[in-house]
């Protein structure tokens, strides 16, 4: 097996960067750990769950999808190529990788979005088995696991009590990455550490079933009271994929941008005529929960949540998706659907 010392992850990042990869890793900056492009001297931290998710590098917060030259009233289109920079998503989390099932589906279920696909094809996904979880983690409640290998090209496994990492390739991309790593991962032996124990916090099938019957429940008002409508949860979410399209122009050039958006914002659904199908934060928060746990499962037979807990860690009002789901699951025990 291929192993490396735990404190030599930067050597691996450096080797991959030399081999032509853009290396994305959890990097500490001003006391905050974020997934970001690694550059020489940057500190990689694997002991903290990054505030952002790996989606940022496949579906960036803002991306140019159109470009025109402007000349008075005339305009002429210019070619726009998707970003296909060879990238490794290094030491991301299994909950990041789990989200790719949904993103791959959304951007390809009918029409194909090549801006996403080019980045996705160029990405090698190397999650790290979680050996610690915090109180917001709930991957095991939504079909995931701290050592899940879904959508991974290679896995990093903590070993020998945290002293080493095992780098285990799972796909051709993973093998290519191992070749590129060179001496940064050497042949050796190590004993994998046990994955984190992530408590099972709610029965997701009960949640989905309750949602299908309770669009009008009074519980929505209670559940949504804290929501400030800031959208932080959507931006940190590995599966949230809703976007806006906006133009930015100078006198001579215009670009069309695909920008992250959120169903938590009042303007998200507001018609030009003023009517808003989701007129208040209760309707918008309900949409968020329904979309992830009812509508996406109905449409795509997938869940719209990987249990990463990032939304709850960021929420200024202390709202937590796992807490909401737990309360819904409790509610479903109180009032079975056939009695309502």
């Amino acid at each position: 097996m291929k192993v490396l010392d735990a404190d030599k992850l930067t050597d691996l990042a450096a080797a991959l960067a030399r081999a032509g990869y853009r290396v994305v890793a959890p990097i500490e900056d001003s006391g905050v750990v974020r997934l970001a492009e690694w550059t020489e001297g940057a500190t990689i931290r694997t002991d903290v769950i990054p505030v952002n998710s790996a989606k940022d590098f496949l579906f960036p917060r803002s991306e140019v999808i159109g470009r025109w030259d402007l000349d008075g009233a005339d305009f002429s289109p210019r070619d726009v190529q998707p970003d296909a920079t060879k990238t490794v998503l290094l030491a991301v989390r299994p909950c990041d990788a789990a989200a790719l099932a949904l993103l791959d589906t959304i951007f390809n279920w009918d029409y194909k979005d090549d801006f996403y696909n080019a980045r996705r094809r160029a990405a090698t996904v190397v999650p790290m088995v979680c050996t610690a979880a915090d109180e917001q983690c709930f991957c095991t409640s939504v079909g995931g696991a701290p050592d899940a290998t879904a959508n991974a090209d290679a896995m990093l496994r903590s070993a020998d009590g945290g002293a080493k990492f095992i780098l285990e390739p799972l796909t051709d991309k993973g093998n290519a990455l191992l070749d590129a790593a060179g001496d940064a991962a050497r042949e050796g032996e190590a004993a994998a550490d046990p994955p984190a124990e992530v408590p099972h916090r709610f029965d997701v099938d009960a949640v989905t079933e309750w949602l299908s019957e309770n669009f009008e429940s009074a519980l929505w008002t209670t559940l949504s009271l804290g929501c400030l409508g800031c959208g932080a949860c959507a931006y940190a979410c590995p599966t949230c994929h809703c976007f806006d399209m906006q133009d930015e122009a100078t006198r001579t050039q215009s670009v069309r941008l695909k920008n992250w958006d959120s169903c938590g914002f009042g303007l998200f659904t507001q018609h030009a005529g003023g009517h808003n199908p989701r007129p208040d934060q209760t309707a918008r928060w309900r949409q968020r929960v329904m979309h992830k746990f009812s509508y996406i499962p109905e449409r795509f037979q997938l869940l719209g949540c990987t249990g990463c807990g990032r939304c709850a860690r960021l929420c200024g009002a202390g709202m937590s998706m796992s807490e909401v789901c737990r309360r819904i699951a409790d509610e479903s025990k109180k009032a079975p659907a056939h009695e309502s």
């Binding site: 025109w68 029409y111 194909k112 809703c242 976007f243 958006d261 030009a272």
Partner: protein
């Protein structure tokens, strides 16, 4: 609901930029009201024109834009039976629609489409068709009306009930006059109380009220209802009382959209994408959707 791979394939070039529009030339323009304008658009070339009409059916929509301002979604207001151009009619509602309205004849705008599903008019052959429209919602039905009138022999009675807040808000005034003269069209126009002028010859009353008075027969009929949410809300119970089956009553959902192609998530209602599974729905289908305040 399964993906419509065939439609996606016909609209999108493999590996192409899904969001790249065509450049269309404004061949004609006319003001319908103080804030609503109709543009006739010509295709950049024969290949684009033929490709468009190979897939265009009434009910589908497009994204119209001006680089630097953005794109807006509205209906295609002309039918596939008039296949040299497309027309759109839209209200000046914000930055993008203002930028499009301010383009002159001979200048260009961008267009993507056609997207979405369509009215199943081939299933309506031999049936009576009742159109009920309010205000700026006549344009999405106008494509159906002209499609039906261009193939008049294939359909039975045609009834059009069209209302607006005031006489000044009525669109397609010339066409309304044409339809009024035809003996194979029953046109009823109305304006809201207080919206009439001294020489107004149509009815005075809200659309649902006039619908109740007019009482079109549901026998062998389909009804199409497009208008502001409040008009639809009060028209549906009357159609039901008259005996129109929810499965024979159609509307278009006018949800806000950005991408038009089932990605951006904005138009979601329940598990549906209005841009892909709609915009045309029967009332039977709408009733099954989560009742966000549609």
């Amino acid at each position: 609901m399964s993906p419509d791979i065939d439609q996606a394939a016909t609209v999108q070039q493999p590996g192409g930029n899904l969001y790249a529009p065509m450049t269309m030339t404004i061949a004609e323009a006319r003001d319908e009201t103080y804030d609503t304008r109709t543009l006739r658009l010509e295709f950049p070339g024969e290949q684009e024109r033929a490709a468009f009409f190979a897939k265009y059916r009434v009910g589908m929509f497009g994204l119209y834009g001006v680089p630097g301002a953005g794109e807006s979604v509205f209906c295609i207001a002309s039918p596939p039976t008039r296949d040299r151009y497309i027309e759109c009619t839209f209200r000046r509602a914000g930055r993008v629609t203002a930028a499009i309205q301010d383009r002159e004849v001979g200048q260009t705008i961008t267009f993507r489409g056609p997207y979405g599903n369509c009215f199943p008019i081939e299933e309506w052959k031999g049936r009576n068709i009742v159109f009920i429209a309010g205000g700026i919602a006549l344009p999405p039905l106008r494509s159906v009306i002209w499609n039906v009138l261009d193939r008049r022999d294939e359909f039975a009675d045609v009834t059009i009930l069209y209302g607006a807040r005031t006489v000044a808000d009525l669109v397609y005034k010339d066409e309304l006059a044409d339809w009024q003269k035809r003996d194979d069209v029953n046109l009823i126009t109305t304006v809201d109380p207080g919206g009439e002028t001294e020489d107004w010859k149509g009815k005075i009353g809200f659309v649902p009220t006039v619908l109740e008075q007019t009482a079109p027969t549901p026998k062998n009929a389909v009804a199409l209802v497009c208008g502001p949410p409040i008009m639809i809300k009060f028209s549906l119970p009357i159609l039901k009382t008259l005996g129109f089956a929810p499965a024979d009553t159609y509307t278009t959902l006018e949800n806000r959209m950005k991408c038009g192609v089932g990605k951006c998530g904005r138009c979601n209602v329940g598990s549906l994408y209005v841009c892909k599974d709609g915009p045309v729905f029967t009332i039977e289908q709408v009733r099954k959707l989560p009742q966000d305040d549609l």
